[in-house]
């Protein structure tokens, strides 16, 4: 029983020279290599470039978070006034020389953190990097449907990010990543940097739309012969659901931000009441995009977790169809819950409806967690970095999901809204969910992407540091939020001092953990052992090709003859049945028939 039935494959196409080489193979001089990468239409190279850009921006956004935590270490101001702020401050807020202007400095720093992490890191993280690399390979295609469009998406992303960084260099923006009106149309009116950041987010949206469009078409049209919809790996289901949201929701934020710029620059009254507009209209528009985009962030994370758990416990995902449909269900309902960001500013009827719809989205989410845990039952569970991250995800994401319940409940949300409880909740979902899955996915697919193994033990140590640091950072934030600590405060009443201190210590631990991860991965590139084609015994198509893959992904067009998770009946490609014993096939047949 083989993974790929080559007898049915088309005759070997004439060789195109270097197409049988690794996609990473050098093209000669440094300049030709750079030119080759800059003009490539290979989805793998584009995926790697996205990965690099996202990690760089993750580092910048992370540093901003550390500065925010430093400021909050004391109830009154310590950063931005004297202690640490000077260098960063001279970049971000040169006019901020006094203690009060330090507030302004703090506001710019948390805006920087939020805008970078949301628009430039978490939204593109999984789909644009790992999705770009593995979506075509997992469905057995040579590339995405529109390779040139894919390169264009990358350049649009880079241009958007450059504009965002420009707005920071010009002095930063103090609106918060949500750009709420009328504050955002009135602040820093003498400066254009606010409009530049908003424009940057507008541009980034196009990158998102084009990537989403590309993925939808790719999944519909380029699946390998033999791969029906329900033979697709769950990673594809997750990324596909994400792509649909990206295509449908992103234009709304584009239009909204354009209107915001028009109001700011030309004083056209849309959101500002002094010009005859309505600020709540902005919130409706903004969250009509930004709530679905929460699922753009989390669905790909869930998609990775489905892969990690299946591969590293050698199990079929429990309730494959339920998980696949839960992805689509979440994607659909995600468009109908935006109002839960505005429970304190809407009428009772609207709040009633949005609260109900919000609980509706909780159901498929809960079902997914049950399915993942049930998958572990009777598995053969390897403990390595990817699996550790899958378990960390289950732990943190479950907390993130459960703490969403008092926020969906109207009576309690009225108290908790805009408090640190909300801050902690969405960090548990966005960071504890998506970023943990992303880091787990990077380790899972690292050998495939770069052909090198990473050092397992240091990476696991880093994962444990990240886990402890994360909880230390955000559990105190839950407590002080429920006790009355509002969001976006540069200084606070003394009662919250101890919680803020614990949280800051946690953030240092997180930083150490991530730096160790970075070190392990760089070390792997320089001195890692060569990776075999299928180090984990995976059954999806990317594990049947070389590590790193050749330029055309596969030597022959693959034909799919088994499901993505048939671990109990198929020996994985490049594995010896002796090293990979299958369970007794009669027993397997009985179990499947018995159902």
């Amino acid at each position: 029983m083989s993974t790929i039935d080559t007898s049915r494959a088309k005759p070997h196409e004439p060789s195109h020279g270097h197409h049988d080489e690794s996609y990473l193979a050098s093209r000669g001089s440094l300049f030709s290599n750079i030119w080759d990468w800059a003009t490539t239409v290979d989805h793998k190279k584009i995926g790697v470039m996205y990965l690099f850009a996202v990690l760089v921006l993750f580092f910048i956004g992370g540093l901003a978070a550390i500065l925010v935590r430093l400021e909050l270490f004391e109830p009154t101001r310590i950063v931005g006034g004297k202690v640490v702020g000077s260098l960063f401050q001279s970049l971000t807020a040169p006019e901020a020389t006094s203690t009060a202007a330090g507030n302004n400095w703090y506001n710019r720093t948390f805006t920087l953190h939020g805008a970078i992490m949301v628009f430039m890191v978490i939204v593109p993280s999984v789909p644009a990097s790992l999705g770009n690399f593995f979506l075509p390979i997992q469905i057995g295609a040579k590339d995405v449907a529109f390779p040139r469009l894919n390169l264009l998406s990358w350049y649009i992303y880079v241009i958007g990010s450059i504009f965002a960084v420009l707005s920071i260099i010009l002095g930063g923006v103090d609106t918060g990543w949500t750009f709420y009106t009328p504050y955002s149309t009135l602040t820093d009116l003498g400066f254009s940097r606010g409009a530049i950041l908003v424009f940057a987010v507008f541009v980034l949206g196009f990158s998102s739309i084009l990537t989403g469009l590309n993925f939808v078409v790719t999944v519909h049209k380029l699946r390998a012969p033999g791969m029906g919809w329900f033979d697709m790996p769950l990673f594809i289901w997750g990324v596909y659901s994400t792509a649909i949201i990206q295509v449908l929701a992103t234009p709304v934020i584009g239009i909204t931000l354009l209107l915001l710029c028009m109001e700011r620059l030309f004083r056209i009254g849309i959101f500002d009441p002094s010009l005859g507009g309505d600020p709540v209209l902005y919130q409706h528009f903004f969250w009509f995009y930004s709530h679905p985009v929460v699922y753009v962030m989390i669905l790909p994370g869930m998609a990775i977790i489905s892969e990690l758990i299946a591969v590293h416990s050698r199990k079929r995902i429990f309730g494959y169809r339920a998980v696949a449909f839960a992805s689509l269900g979440i994607a659909a309902v995600s468009f109908l819950v935006w109002g839960h960001h505005m429970f304190t500013g809407m009428g009772e009827m609207a709040s009633f409806i949005f609260s109900g719809l919000t609980f509706l989205v909780a159901i498929p989410t809960a079902v997914k967690v049950f399915n993942w845990i049930a998958t572990l039952y009777k598995g053969s569970i390897a403990i390595n970095t990817p699996m550790l991250y899958a378990l960390i995800f289950l732990f943190l994401f479950t907390i993130g999901g459960l703490t969403g319940l008092p926020l969906a409940t109207l009576a309690t949300d009225v108290h908790l809204h805009d408090s640190y409880f909300v801050v902690a909740h969405f960090h548990y979902v966005m960071m504890g969910g998506t970023i943990m899955a992303f880091v787990g996915g990077i380790h899972h697919w690292w050998p495939k992407m770069f052909g090198k193994m990473y050092a397992e033990k240091p990476a696991m140590l880093a994962a444990i540091l990240v886990f402890i640091g994360f909880n230390l950072t955000f559990i105190p934030q839950f407590l002080m939020g429920a006790q009355g600590m509002p969001r976006r405060y540069a200084s606070y009443v003394d009662a919250f001092h101890i919680y803020h201190q614990l949280s800051t210590f946690g953030s240092f631990l997180l930083l150490v953990g991530f730096l160790l991860h970075a070190f392990v991965l760089v070390h792997s590139l320089v001195a890692g052992k060569k990776a075999p084609p299928n180090p984990w015994g995976g059954l999806t198509l990317e594990w049947s090709t070389d590590s790193p893959p050749i330029a055309h992904n596969f030597h022959h067009e693959p034909i799919v003859t088994h499901g993505p998770y048939d671990y109990d009946s198929v020996v994985p490609p490049h594995w010896d049945p002796k090293d990979y014993p299958l369970p007794d096939q009669k027993q397997v047949a009985q179990v499947h028939a018995g159902h």
Binding site: N104, S355, G379, F395, P406, Q483, G484, P486
Partner: protein, 399 residues
Amino acid sequence: MIDTILSIPTLTTLAEADFFKRLWLRSDAASEAATHTDFMFMAIWWICVTWFVFLMVLMAYFVVRYRRVQGKPAEPSNAHNTTLEIVWTIIPTLFFVWMFFAGFKGYIAKQIAPGDAEEIIVNAKKWNWTVTYPGGYTSFDTKDLGAKTQPVFYIPAGRPLKFRLLSADVMHAFWVPDMRIKSDVFPNRYTYVWFDANEPSGKETITRDMVQKGFEDLIGAPYADHWLFCAEYCGDDHSEMAAIFRVVPEPVYKKWLVALDKASQNMPPCELGERTYRMQCAACHSVDGSKNTGPSWKDMFGRTETFTDGSTGVVDENYVLESIMTPAAKVVQGFPNSMNSFAGQLSDKQINGLIAYMKKISANYKGPDPCAGAVAPEGEAPATPSTEAPKAESTPAAH
């Protein structure tokens, strides 16, 4: 059915467990609606803890029990089980349905004020709160908290109070954590919140140093202080935009209103100015020389300032008036143009008071004692001759 669930003894008992309630909510709920919210919060917390522990124990057990042993395949097992999947979809759904309806019930109780509620008007502006009582009075009380002072607003216990909220500029949010209520404050429409504060426990009573002259009747009365925070990001001093609601028994509140009425009518300009400063201006202007969002008022009156357009001018009565009415006209160099107009929000009397107060705290002001008042005997005028006074009276050089 909801009542049945609510009355399951274990759930209620657990929800009342004191340690976790302290850990999560710190303060006691200060109104009846808040007590319901606390019950909801703790009930949801216990449901979540139960589920979380169950799931994590299961996960940990599976990871240990089924850890990979080299050469041993995974045991075959079903890849799905329709009955199980339906059951584990329905059970959480039932919990969600309870949370949804019970939460809505508590929310409506917090939204809809009783018909006999007393209406109190709250105005939000960058970066302070103003409370106007029935009869048009505004509070002048402040609480000294070491590094800064915060405005104090007295409110009566035991009767429903309905707050009508309006912003003068951007969006703010009115949050009294102890009452577990919050509402956004918009610049273009009124929003309302209400609560019915519990009687203060009596552990704390008003002391002499907490009251100003004329308010001595309040000494000895029980009180409870509750923070009011701005919860919607509103710019530079968002985190300074706080105030305190002081709950007192209703008779004490009435005494306070009477004292406030008297004090408002015959307050000397300097005192009125200082109180107005603390209520309206202290978020951005210091009086000890330290730099804040706006220039410090210490020694400012009578000083020659350079403005952002490079011109200079002396801070005199007209400059102060102009800066209150049209703050953007002349902004002192080194400060952001972030002040809003107070036109229509301060009375002429208050502006006169502010001018007198600024004179009082400025070494650059060389005129007669601004606090002496019209009836002050001549002998109490400042002894030093005011040679530089005419300069301070001149109009700014530019414009």
